[in-house]
């Protein structure tokens, strides 16, 4: 039994997406907004998320709401996170803000797996992090981490 009511979600860059209310409610943040927003809340702003990411998030919610018991849900999830690191991080951030536990768990686990066995340098490269330690601080860290093979 699907509700015919739709919600419009607006991303940070102004893109709008019309989704079934049931799908939108998969995000607990949106659920809360609707429940506290009054009868006229048909357009919800999601300023923390860009259009590209929001469209992917909606895709996830749609699948999980419309076919939660389907056999291919697992493979859907596996394929869903086969994206580059930047998109993955955006998804994680969005799922955090929009309070979508399943997606947060999925994306966090995928990101966590990217760390396995990497050295500090490799981690910086993967996530494009700038090293802001001074040479002295780095030396100190190297000494502290002498117990650890991967540093």
């Amino acid at each position: 039994m699907t509700s015919s009511k739709t919600i419009v979600l607006r991303s940070s860059d102004g893109a709008t997406f019309e989704v079934d209310e049931a799908v939108a409610l998969h995000s607990l943040m949106i659920k809360h907004r609707i429940e506290t927003g009054g009868a006229d809340s048909t357009t919800i702003d999601v300023p923390e998320v860009t259009g590209n990411t929001l469209s992917k998030v909606i895709e996830y919610c749609k699948k999980h709401v419309e076919a939660p018991n389907s056999d291919d849900l697992k493979s859907f999830d596996t394929d869903f996170v086969k994206v580059d690191q930047a998109v993955l991080c955006h998804l994680a951030k969005a799922s955090y803000y929009m309070n979508i536990k399943g997606l947060l768990d999925l994306s966090s686990k995928t990101i966590a797996d990217m760390f396995k066995g990497k050295t500090v340098e490799q981690i910086r490269e993967t996530f494009h992090i700038k090293n802001d330690f001074t040479p002295e601080e780095e030396e100190e860290l190297r000494k502290e981490n002498s117990w650890n093979l991967f540093v």
């Binding site: 966090s108 760390f115 500090v120």
Partner: protein, 239 residues
């Protein structure tokens, strides 16, 4: 890119070694990864019992880093005495006759103080040239006693008590004797460590005598460096 929220969602899922690597990536990551909560997550995977009820007396971070793998090489603490603090009383007898009797200060026994004739092996041994050299008929039974005194506490201990040179190694020109060390009761469960003493000699061809030119003492059962020997001597039953 990696905002605090994502890190906080990802860190609990990491292995301890990966989390430790994160602490060295950049300052933001270091700040977040230091939170013992994430280390509790790490310990929960390895030792779930440590996360039940009250926490252990050390931080989860320290717990993981200390115990995550079996400790293999343990470095010795610096010994409490040096050769400077010690004096050795060395006496050799042959069938009741005194062959050699000297008080030897520790530093005189230090390896490398003299150059032995070629062919002597390089393990850690306390060595002493025997001057003047003495000769012993091969047939006689030679025995030795070694006592040691320490200047820091003014006490004496026995290293070798009346051991005979039963074992002759002609190929390396050594006569060997040993005795089991008497360790202080402050160190229970330590036993079976011997002091070995060797007479270094040259065979005097014709008259069946051996000419002793040097002495070597070692504790190879347990100690193979100067530091280890000093620790071992420190553990004797000093009175």
């Amino acid at each position: 890119m990696a905002s605090d929220e994502i890190l906080k969602a990802v860190f609990p899922l990491l292995e301890g070694t990966d989390l430790a690597a994160c602490m060295a990536v950049c300052k933001q990551w270091q700040n977040i990864a230091q939170d013992d909560y994430f280390w509790k997550c790490v310990c929960a995977k390895k030792w779930p019992s440590t996360c039940k009820n009250s926490p252990p007396p050390i931080t989860y971070q320290k717990l993981f880093k200390t115990f995550y793998k079996r400790e293999n090489n343990r470095t010795l603490l610096p010994p409490r005495i040096s050769l400077q603090d010690l004096e050795f009383y060395i006496d050799f007898w042959a069938d009741g006759n005194l062959l050699f009797s000297q008080v030897v200060p520790g530093p005189a026994l230090q390896k490398g103080n003299w150059t032995p004739p070629p062919g002597i092996s390089p393990e850690y041994k306390l060595t002493l040239p025997v001057k003047p050299q003495f000769s012993v008929p091969y047939s006689q039974s030679v025995s030795v006693s070694v006592l040691v005194a320490r200047k820091d506490t003014n006490k004496v201990a026995s290293v070798i008590h009346d051991a005979t040179f039963d074992y002759i190694e002609r190929s390396s020109c050594r006569a060997l004797a040993y005795d089991y060390l008497v360790i202080s009761p402050a160190y229970p469960f330590v036993s079976g460590i011997r002091a070995w003493i060797a007479l270094l000699f040259i065979e005097d061809g014709d008259d069946g005598d051996i000419d002793v030119f040097g002495i070597e003492m070692d504790f190879c059962d347990a100690a193979n460096s100067e530091e280890e020997v000093l620790w071992l001597l420190d553990m004797l039953d000093w009175k």
